[in-house]
């Protein structure tokens, strides 16, 4: 009876050990699968991951010279769109970013209405600002010069943005990637020229766009 009873008592332990072994093998396999693109990147570029922009953690800041004196900052807080990013950093990230003009914040309600009104962004006619990347060149250290079509006030023109990779966070199931883009445009190029001639407001507008996206798998 004893051996029998010993055998019976050992069986569950073996089963547990086997299950643990299988489970750990599975986990390792899972990590290996996740890490695989990086491992193969020595020979081929990793497939870019798709990210959907997280509107809560994206924003677009603009800066403009006011009456030739101070630099005035405003913000659009509704930024939507998508981007791609290859973890090996060999492929330039791509972006399709849309900003809702009516989401502007300047700190003053009346000024907000002026900015989105017909004098400037004319949001009732041109509801969005959009950037769609068309190419990119790596500058090293997670920095790219991303070229793309920038549409504002109904006018589309090519621009080049300096885009810095700010981080990739998460785990095999969930990932978040972040970028910060900086570029300048002349608003008169986009037909938004009120105050340029009399220097009430500068022509050059600097945009700083903070992007964070959720991996869509």
């Amino acid at each position: 009876m004893r051996p029998f009873s010993t055998r019976r008592s050992i069986r569950p332990v073996r089963c547990l050990l086997a299950a643990a072994a299988l489970g750990s093998a599975g986990l390792v396999g899972g990590f290996a699968a996740t890490a695989q693109p990086a491992a193969t990147s020595a020979t081929t570029a990793a497939a870019p991951l798709d990210f959907k922009l997280d509107p809560v953690h994206c924003m677009a800041l603009f800066r403009i010279h006011h009456v030739g004196a101070g630099q005035f900052w405003g913000m659009f807080d509704q930024v939507e769109g998508s981007m791609t990013y290859a973890e090996d950093g060999k492929t330039a990230p791509t972006f399709d970013v849309t900003v809702q003009v009516e989401s502007v914040h300047s700190g003053t309600e009346k000024l907000d209405r002026t900015i989105i009104g017909p004098q400037f962004f004319n949001a009732k006619e041109y509801e969005t600002i959009r950037f769609v990347s068309t190419g990119g060149e790596s500058k090293g250290d997670g920095v790219w010069d991303i070229t793309g079509d920038f549409t504002m006030h109904g006018v589309t023109r090519p621009v080049t943005a300096k885009v810095e990779f700010t981080g990739l966070a998460g785990n095999p199931v969930q990932k978040k990637a972040g970028f910060e883009a900086t570029f300048e445009v002349k608003r008169s190029d986009y037909g938004m020229d009120w105050g340029v001639n009399n220097k009430a407001l500068g022509d050059d507008v600097r945009l700083v766009v903070g992007l964070e996206g959720d991996w869509t798998r």
């Binding site: 009456v67 004196a69 003053t108 309600e109 000024l111 209405r113 004098q119 109904g154 105050g195 009430a200």
Partner: protein, 305 residues
């Protein structure tokens, strides 16, 4: 800001006001009946167009942007100012349906502006954001009935009454447009007000000329297009009727053309009429400013440059 005020307000008022002053004050020109009847409307159109161009450049036709209809409205006002006197003056040839026909045609043209723009090669789009056929018909009816309502007043009230009434009306539209944060419309209304004031001064010293059908049609077009543009294109936080009450304030002159008011001394009648216009326009301004406050006025836009 000083440059902006000079180019967008002072010079346009000088251009428009100078035109009407010349036409009404110089005897050879004053005797030219067509010119005398057209010059107030032409002055409004010249002033408004000059201000628009100073701010936004020459508007193309068909317009590329809806806001350019403001500049084109000035062109239409000029055309109406030129053609209006040719339809006969109310005092000489008031035969039905001539007046009504003029009103109907003017209203139809205003209502059909998007269609005309489309026929001229433009893309099919509404005149202002969110306006549809119903809005266009309403604008046409407002033009027609505005003209019909005030044609009789134009016939009766020569001299300073109507230029001052239009001065008050346009002067009220300027702060309302500012409360809605549209700088261009603010300047255009201010220029129309300034031009009307110069016209009133000229009328005071030139024997009381009539603004004529040309002047009435031009003013009516501007008073229809300005508020609709202001309401549809901006984000003003006040009710829509503010625009309508301010722009429609001169209509109050019609019921004041009655035997009781006519018995008052001229100065009392004039004062009463202008007070009634000012009361209506004033209510609109107060509501707009109270609802649309919170900013730093023109310093928001340009400061002191």
């Amino acid at each position: 800001m000083i440059k902006t005020v000079i180019f967008s307000m002072v010079l346009p008022v000088l251009a428009g006001g100078g035109l009407v002053a010349l036409c009404w004050l110089l005897p050879p020109l004053r005797k030219w009946r067509w010119l005398s009847s057209a010059c107030f409307g032409l002055a409004l159109a010249v002033g408004v167009f000059a201000s628009f161009v100073a701010e936004n450049g020459v508007p193309p036709f068909p317009p590329a942007e809806r806001a350019q209809w403001l500049g084109l409205a000035a062109v239409l006002a000029a055309i109406f100012a030129i053609l209006g006197p040719m339809t006969g003056s109310a005092e000489r040839e008031r035969k039905w349906p001539a007046t009504e026909l003029v009103a109907f045609l003017a209203g139809a043209i205003v209502a059909g502006l998007p269609l005309i723009a489309e026929l001229a090669g433009g893309e099919a789009k509404s005149m202002f954001s969110g306006t549809g056929p119903a809005d266009q018909i309403a604008m046409g009816l407002a033009t027609a009935f505005g003209f019909l309502a005030l044609d009789k007043v134009v016939e009766t009230r020569h001299g300073v009454t109507l230029p001052l009434a239009f001065f008050i009306t346009f002067a009220a539209l300027a702060p309302i447009a500012d409360a809605a944060s549209w700088i261009t419309l603010t300047f255009l209304a201010a220029v129309a007000a300034g031009t009307s004031l110069v016209a009133a001064l000229a009328a005071r010293f030139s024997g009381g000329p009539s603004i004529g059908r040309g002047g009435l049609l031009a003013a009516t077009v501007l008073l229809v297009v300005f508020p609709v543009a202001g309401y549809r294109q901006t984000y003003g936080e006040f009710p829509w009727w503010v625009w309508g009450v301010a722009a429609g304030a001169p209509i109050v002159l019609l019921p004041l053309e009655n035997p009781w008011i006519a018995k008052l001394p001229p100065w009392a009648g004039l004062t009463l009429r202008l007070l009634c216009v000012a009361a209506l326009a004033g209510v609109a301004v107060v509501v707009a400013i109270q609802s649309g406050s919170g900013g730093d006025d023109l310093n928001d836009y340009g400061g002191f440059n």
